[in-house]
C-alpha cells in the first residue's frame, strides 16, 4: 500500500483539504451522467433555459416516448443479439487459445503469442477500410454475422486466459492424464471449471467492446433496421445524424441514457472484475 501523504496519526487534519478536493473532483467527474439523466426527464421548456435545475421541476417521459416512436427497440435487439453472439464466441475461442498457449508445448507457440500481444498495439481502426472492401466484395454486409465476426478474436481475452492457465498446478492435469483423459477432456473437466475469474473478466471486456462498438457497425449496416444501438443513437447528433430539429437535447439524452444503461449496470455490478481485468491485461501486457 502506498500512502504518499502524511498518515492520519501524525497530523490529524492534514489530509482533509486533499480529501475534499478529490471528492469534489469525483463528484464533478460523475456529474455529466447526472445531467444527462436529469435532462432526459425534463420537458423542453426546462431544457432550453438558462435557469439551471439539477432535478427536473416536472418529471416527464415525453423524451423516452419520442425515442421509442423510432426503431430504438429494434436497435436494442440488434445490439443484444450481436453482443451476445460476439461475447459467447469470443470467450470460447479465447479460452481455447489461452489454454493452448499456456499448457501445450508446441512448436511456434512463442511466435503465435508474440503476434497476438503485438496486435494489441496495432490500432484496430486501420484494418477497417480493407475489411470493409473484403466484406463488400463477398456480400457479407448488413447482417448480424457481418457486425459480429471482426470482433470475435480478442487478443486481451486470450491474454487473460493464458495468464490464468499458466498458474494452474501441473498435478491437477497429471491425475486426469493417468486416468486416461485426453487434452480435450482435461480442458473441459479440469481446467475450464476452475477458470471462473478469467471467464468473467473476458466476458466483461468482450461484451463492452461489442456493445460499444461504433465505427464498424456504422460502416457495415446499410438499413435503419440493422443499426446497432450506438449507430442508431448517434442519429440524434445534430452534426452527423438524421433527426435534425430544434430541440433535440431531450430525446438525445433519453437515447444516450438507454445506450449507457447496460454498460454502466454491468460495470457497477462487476466493477472489481472490470478494474482488475483491465489493469492486469494492461500492466503486464
Amino acid at each position: 500500500m502506498v500512502r504518499v501523504l502524511p498518515g492520519r496519526r501524525r497530523r490529524r487534519l492534514a489530509w482533509f483539504p486533499g480529501w475534499l478536493i478529490g471528492m469534489l473532483a469525483a463528484i464533478l467527474w460523475a456529474a455529466p451522467f447526472l445531467w444527462m439523466l436529469s435532462t432526459s426527464f425534463k420537458p423542453t421548456a426546462q431544457i432550453l433555459t438558462n435557469n439551471i435545475h439539477w432535478l427536473p421541476q416536472t418529471f416527464v417521459l415525453d423524451n423516452y416516448r419520442f425515442v421509442f416512436r423510432g426503431p430504438v427497440s429494434r436497435w436494442m435487439l440488434n445490439s443484444l443479439i450481436t453482443s451476445f453472439l460476439g461475447t459467447l464466441l469470443g470467450v470460447m475461442v479465447g479460452a481455447l487459445a489461452g489454454y493452448a498457449l499456456a499448457r501445450i508445448q508446441f512448436r511456434g507457440r512463442n511466435a503465435v503469442f508474440g503476434l497476438i500481444l503485438a496486435s494489441i498495439m496495432i490500432p484496430a481502426n486501420l484494418a477497417v477500410v480493407p475489411l470493409y472492401i473484403a466484406f463488400l466484395k463477398i456480400g457479407l454486409v448488413n447482417s448480424y454475422a457481418a457486425i459480429t465476426l471482426p470482433l470475435v478474436a480478442n487478443a486481451v481475452s486470450v491474454y487473460i486466459f493464458r495468464q490464468f492457465f499458466l498458474g494452474l498446478p501441473d498435478e491437477l492435469e497429471d491425475a486426469a492424464r493417468i486416468d486416461g483423459a485426453g487434452r480435450w477432456q482435461m480442458f473441459i473437466h479440469v481446467a475450464l471449471p476452475l477458470a471462473r475469474g478469467p471467464i468473467t473478466a473476458s466476458t466483461i471486456i468482450l461484451f463492452t467492446a461489442n456493445w460499444n462498438n461504433y465505427l464498424w457497425p456504422l460502416l457495415i449496416t446499410f438499413s435503419q433496421n440493422m443499426y446497432t444501438l450506438p449507430v442508431g443513437v448517434a442519429q440524434y447528433s445534430s452534426a452527423s445524424g438524421n433527426y435534425t430539429q430544434i430541440n433535440i437535447y431531450g430525446p438525445s439524452m433519453a437515447a444516450a441514457t438507454l445506450l449507457c444503461i447496460p454498460s454502466l449496470a454491468i460495470f457497477l455490478a462487476l466493477q472489481r472484475y472490470f478494474i482488475e481485468g483491465v489493469a492486469r491485461a494492461g500492466v503486464k501486457g
Binding site: P123, V128, V231, A234, L264, G282
Partner: protein, 297 residues
C-alpha cells in the same frame, strides 16, 4: 551427453508432432478469425492503397497517386495537423489526470470506492453517449459549462474552439483507463520501501518524486503509448459531436478517411490515408519511447 536410442527419438518426435496438432487445433478457432480479420487486412490495406479501388469496376494499379493526391490536398493536411493537435493536448492532460486520480484513490481515504467508480465509469460507455452528452453540456446558449463559467463560448460551432470542445469530451472519456492503469501500478509498489523512506525523513513530495514516480516508469510508458495510439485514431466522438466541422476545423485523419474516403467509395484513397496514419502513429510512439528511455528522473 548420451545419444538417445533410435526408438526413443522416434517416440519424442511423435510426441512433438502430437502436441503441435493439439496446440494448433486448440488455437485455430481463435487464430483463424485473428489472421483473417486483424492481420491480413493490414497487409491488404497497403496493397489497396496503391490502386484506385472504388467497388465499381476493376481496380487498377496507380502507384503513389493516392498518396500524392492526399498530401497535396489542403483538407487532408489540415486533418493530419488537427490529429497532432489532439494528441499534443489530450495525451498529457489524460496522463496527468489519470495519475493524480490514481494517487488520490490509492490513499484509501473515506469514499475512495465511490471515487474509483466515478473516475472509471465514463470509460465504459459508448462513444455516442460521450458525444451527445458533451454536445449538450457545451451548447453555446443553454449549455451548463458556459452557464457555470459565465461565458458564451461557441465550443463546437466556431473554428477556433471546436477541437477544444472535442478534446474536453475525449479527456472525460479516456482518463478512466489511464487512471486504472496507474492504480494497478501503484498497488504493485511495495509499501515497505515507502515506510523506510519515511523513517529516513523523506516527506510525501520527496518520496513521490524519488520513489513512487520512478517505480511507475513502466506504467507511464504503457499508459502514454496506449493513449497516443487511441488519440491518433480519434474518430467516434469527432463524428458524433461535429462531424469534423465547422469548416474542417475539428476533423481528424480518421474522420476525413471516413467521410471523404469511405463515404465517397474512394477506397484506394482511403487506404492510403489509413497507411499514412498508421506510419504517423508508429513514428509518434517510437519518438516518445526514445525520449522516455534516455530520461532520468
Amino acid at each position: 551427453m548420451v545419444a538417445l536410442p533410435a526408438l526413443a527419438q522416434r517416440r519424442l518426435a511423435r510426441t512433438e508432432l502430437r502436441q503441435a496438432g493439439e496446440g494448433y487445433s486448440f488455437a485455430l478457432p481463435f487464430l483463424l478469425p485473428f489472421l483473417v480479420f486483424t492481420i491480413l487486412p493490414l497487409a491488404f490495406g497497403v496493397l489497396v492503397s496503391f490502386t484506385n479501388w472504388s467497388i465499381i469496376g476493376a481496380p487498377q494499379w496507380v502507384g503513389l497517386h493516392n498518396y500524392i493526391s492526399a498530401l497535396s490536398n489542403p483538407l487532408v493536411r489540415q486533418a493530419f495537423l488537427n490529429t497532432l493537435r489532439y494528441v499534443v493536448l489530450v495525451v498529457p492532460v489524460v496522463t496527468l489526470l489519470g495519475l493524480v486520480f490514481a494517487l488520490y484513490v490509492n490513499q484509501r481515504w473515506p469514499g475512495h470506492l465511490f471515487a474509483r467508480v466515478s473516475f472509471y465509469a465514463s470509460n465504459v460507455v459508448s462513444a455516442p453517449v460521450i458525444g451527445l452528452v458533451w454536445v449538450w453540456m457545451l451548447d453555446a446558449q443553454f449549455g451548463i459549462i458556459n452557464h457555470y463559467l459565465h461565458t458564451s463560448i461557441p465550443w463546437l460551432t466556431s473554428t477556433n474552439w471546436s477541437w477544444i470542445g472535442v478534446s474536453i469530451a475525449t479527456v472525460w472519456w479516456d482518463t478512466g483507463l489511464i487512471f486504472v492503469l496507474f492504480l494497478a501500478g501503484l498497488q504493485e509498489i511495495n509499501g515497505e520501501i515507502l515506510e523506510a523512506a519515511k523513517i529516513d525523513g523523506a516527506g510525501p513530495w520527496r518520496s513521490l518524486r524519488r520513489i513512487v514516480l520512478p517505480l511507475l516508469r513502466r506504467t507511464f510508458v504503457l499508459a502514454i503509448t496506449l493513449e497516443m495510439i487511441s488519440t491518433f485514431q480519434i474518430f467516434s466522438q469527432v463524428n458524433v459531436m461535429t462531424a469534423g466541422g465547422p469548416a474542417n476545423s475539428s476533423a481528424s485523419a480518421m474522420q476525413y478517411l471516413y467521410s471523404a474516403g469511405i463515404g465517397q467509395l474512394q477506397l484506394g484513397y482511403a487506404s492510403a490515408i489509413g497507411v499514412m496514419l498508421f506510419v504517423l502513429t508508429v513514428i509518434g510512439t517510437m519518438i516518445f519511447r526514445l525520449l522516455f528511455r534516455d530520461k532520468r528522473w
